[in-house]
Amino acid sequence: MMGDLMWILVSAMVVNNFTLVLFLGLCPFMGVSGRIETALRMGAANIFVLTITSICAWFLNTFILPHAPYLRLISFIVVIASLVQIVEMVIKKVSPTLFRQLGIYLPLITTNCAILGLAIFQTNRGYGFWQGLFFAVGAGLGLTLALVLMASIRENTELAEIPDLARGTALVLIIAGSLSLAFMGFAGLLSST
């Protein structure tokens, strides 16, 4: 059981990294500035929302949706939007400094395909409670990893000599392509003999 769960976590984190392999969560990824601190905060917020989403999705899939499978997408989206709203209000009350620091990022998480993507993948693969949880944590860690890597590379490219034709999104995409290429090396990481 534990081996199974570890595979799910490591697979979601590196082998099938949400951003660099599954193409989810690209909006924050493209927009992340060169500041590693911001990337870490964004990643942490994502891990938090992903974990709670996973639990909600499990709850919906187990108790409510078997009666109305066609309402899956709508119920997921409604839950995610409300979740982000609630999380925002809670953070605002509990820690106003954290709220200020996260700023615009929280509402952006709603349209972050990674959150909805997690709910859908979890459903398609039929994950139970613990599997879903490990999946969410692995995915969040993977997202954070990708964000931090991109932020630190961008920090360095600010000073590098790059033709300004390439600066901007084109450069970010090419960097992302190289990162994705590097992550391909993780395939087969946990395969037993």
């Binding site: 697979s11 066609y70 309402l71 709508i74 693969r125 395939a187 087969g188 946990l190 395969s191 037993s192």
Partner: protein, 221 residues
């Protein structure tokens, strides 16, 4: 182009009106979806049934009919045992193929485990009376195109499973003696994916042996 209109003062809208709008939109949405669902479901279910049947027929040497059986706690049942839900980890579905005159051909067993990139799902045919594999078909795989995906595209690899003896032994291509029916040559350059296929089959058979033994014992008069 008309000049942009200045933002108008919005009167405070009653909460009731907001809720009514959302409820109304929700109701319309729900109705539309239910309608399309009813319209598409028959086609979708028919397609799934056809795909399953094709897979079962492919790995079982063309049976005339097949039954769906549920393996749970070492016994084969005709329907899921009471209290056991479809997601129960101990429940496995197998398909029993047989000819019109009642002779049993074997069981088609779907199984899946992580391969190189992601989970590989396959279905294979097995005859418990002789202990041989009757065929193998990969249903879903995300292995590397050109390398790992040979487990489904390389006919030489796939056809090895017909008549192979259980339990399977994966060998490197140069080590294959050709005399042992348990040997399966792995694909060069796709060792991990090949090994995964062999492992999936061996593990599934290990899990299902008790159920098969008890049903074979039942059938022998």
């Amino acid at each position: 182009m008309t000049p942009p209109t200045p933002p108008t003062e919005r009167p405070n809208v009653a909460a009731g009106r907001l809720l009514a709008t959302l409820a109304g939109a929700g109701a319309v949405a729900g109705l539309l979806i239910v309608f399309v669902f009813g319209w598409t479901q028959p086609t979708i279910q028919a397609y799934k049934a056809r795909m399953l049947q094709e897979a079962v027929y492919e790995v079982l040497e063309a049976p005339d009919h097949y039954d769906t059986l549920y393996a749970y706690a070492g016994v084969l049942h005709d329907s899921p045992p009471p209290g056991v839900g479809p997601r129960d980890k101990g429940l496995e579905i197998v398909y029993h193929g047989y000819r019109t005159d009642g002779t049993s051909i074997g069981y088609a067993i779907p199984a899946g485990e992580p391969g190189f990139q992601d989970v590989i799902r396959l279905i294979f045919g097995y005859d418990p009376e002789t202990g041989t594999i009757l065929g193998m078909k990969v249903l879903e795989s995300k292995e590397t195109p050109g390398l790992g995906d040979k487990i489904e595209k390389d006919q030489d690899f796939v056809s090895q499973f017909q008549g192979a003896g259980s339990p399977l032994k994966g060998m490197k291509a140069r080590d294959v003696t050709g005399t042992d029916p348990h040997e399966v040559a792995m694909i060069t350059g796709a060792t991990i994916s090949s090994r995964a296929v062999i492992r999936i089959i061996n593990n599934a058979l290990e899990r299902l042996q008790p159920a098969f033994q008890s049903s074979v014992a039942e059938r022998i008069p």
